[in-house]
Amino acid sequence: MDTVSQSFALALQMLAHLDPKLTEIVGLSLEVSLSSTLCSALFGLPLGAAVAIARFPGREPLIVALNAAMGLPPVVVGLFVYLLLSRAGPLGNLGLLFTPPAMVIAQTILIVPIVAALTRQIVEDAWSEYREQLRSLHSSWWQSTLTLLWDTRFSLLTVLLAGFGRAAAEVGAVIIVGGNIDGVTRVMTTAIALETSKGDLPLALGLGLVLITLVMALNVGAHATRGWARARFG
């Protein structure tokens, strides 16, 4: 318990003084996880909506695969991307290993299934409500996808938050492809892992509290936005 109270004090101290090392690490964490959330939105939202609306052979197995892929272990994804981006690997010439873009790639792969699978569920429910009317209006397959994505935007925001939460919380993927390089690829979760392995538990836990506070603040903001938008648009 002493460690815990120490860490609360440390966390408050770090937040109050805006320690430059801390801001650097927090900044990189946000940059990497927000980037991967946006990238996964770019791929996952249309993918989920398309699977929801279209009918094709193999649709059911694809849905099962997407749902299962939500549980991809981060460390396995990290290893896979590492082997891809290593100089000895197929994409080695890009020189991306041990850089932030590699971390974004790994996290994007990790959360695209989450975004796609949840989007599919949401859009499928909406599609059953809108389908006849949209067909009556001669809305094409692609037009309907965009319409539904926009119409379910508030629920989709929650989906993106879920994706972001997963990305911001994981350490297995980014530590392998990023290398936890001080000042270059060290993010909150890898810093926590490092401090823990150094035995500096109060600092590790303190960083953990800062991370939780950050993610909490983001969610509060999103919730408030959603409430306002709901009132305005119904």
Partner: protein, 274 residues
């Protein structure tokens, strides 16, 4: 509104291309967790960057993984402490040459209760023999690290065939130095650690140094350039400058000046046959 949303999405995905971290030239050095956790790099590297303007990005993993990273060409320089493994790595054509840089020492850490009665001694082989016969709890890293390789050599020197006598008292964690120390503190066990990590380690529990000073506990560091013929992407000029700096009087002095609590951790010995 839809257009604004789409634009935001596009702009956000531009974050995928974050600006190159500074415009400085840099090298990637694969080294070990124990070296990083000793704090040496925080002390040493700023001096190197100041002298040369070259940034050093350290990927700190276990020795085995560091050598593998070098083998794959994902680093420019490898800086580890397992001479046998380093020479083998060179023989396989992965590097150019090995330069000895410095040594530090290992210490035997143990609980205050000292069930094997080894505290205060200088003979590591004798201490390990006592631990094995007393079957006192002992934590081993059991990863392909330089520390683990040293541990195995010491068991051998003690005449203990650890592979056959190990029992429930011998706990293999497969982890880095820090986590292994955490485990030993939690279990009140003996453990072999490098002095640097121990001095920087805060979660000591009831543990303390029980044996030190034996010549066999010395831990030699070597630095090698990854073979640019095998991997054309290796920054051979910048990497060689790093190596040259490490073995130069300036670099050696910087190494010697690193202290924790007034104690020197690393002893420069470049140019010797180590």
């Amino acid at each position: 509104m839809k257009r604004a949303f789409g634009f935001l999405l596009l702009a956000g995905s531009m974050l995928l291309v974050p600006c190159a971290a500074g415009e400085n030239p840099y090298i990637v050095v694969a080294s070990t967790t124990s070296t990083e956790q000793s704090g040496l790099f925080s002390h040493l590297l700023p001096a190197f960057t100041k002298d040369t303007g070259i940034d050093v990005r350290v990927v700190a993993v276990g020795t085995g993984q560091a050598l593998d990273i070098g083998r794959r060409g994902d680093a420019d320089v490898v800086f580890v402490h397992d001479k046998a493994a380093e020479l083998k790595w060179l023989a396989e054509g992965n590097g150019v040459a090995r330069y000895p840089v410095m040594y530090n020492d290992f210490v035997l850490i143990g609980p205050k209760t000292d069930p094997a009665h080894v505290a205060g001694g200088e003979d590591i082989a004798g201490a390990l023999r006592k631990i094995a016969s007393a079957k006192a709890p002992f934590v081993s890293r059991a990863d392909k690290s330089g520390t683990y390789a040293a541990e195995l050599r010491l068991w051998h020197a003690a005449g203990v065939d650890i592979a056959s006598v190990k029992g429930p008292w011998y706990r293999e964690t497969g982890s880095g130095m820090g986590p292994a120390l955490n485990t030993a503190a939690g279990m009140n066990a003996y453990i072999l650690s490098d002095r640097g990590t121990w001095l920087n380690f805060h979660n000591r529990g009831d543990l303390g140094i029980v044996v030190q000073g034996d010549k066999r506990l010395f831990n030699q560091y070597g630095v090698m350039l990854v073979n640019p013929q095998k991997h054309p992407n290796v920054k051979k000029d910048l990497g060689q400058r790093f190596i040259d700096w490490l073995v130069s009087p300036r670099g050696q002095a910087a190494i010697a000046s690193y202290e924790i609590g007034g104690e020197q951790l690393f002893f420069p010995n470049a140019g010797t046959d180590s």
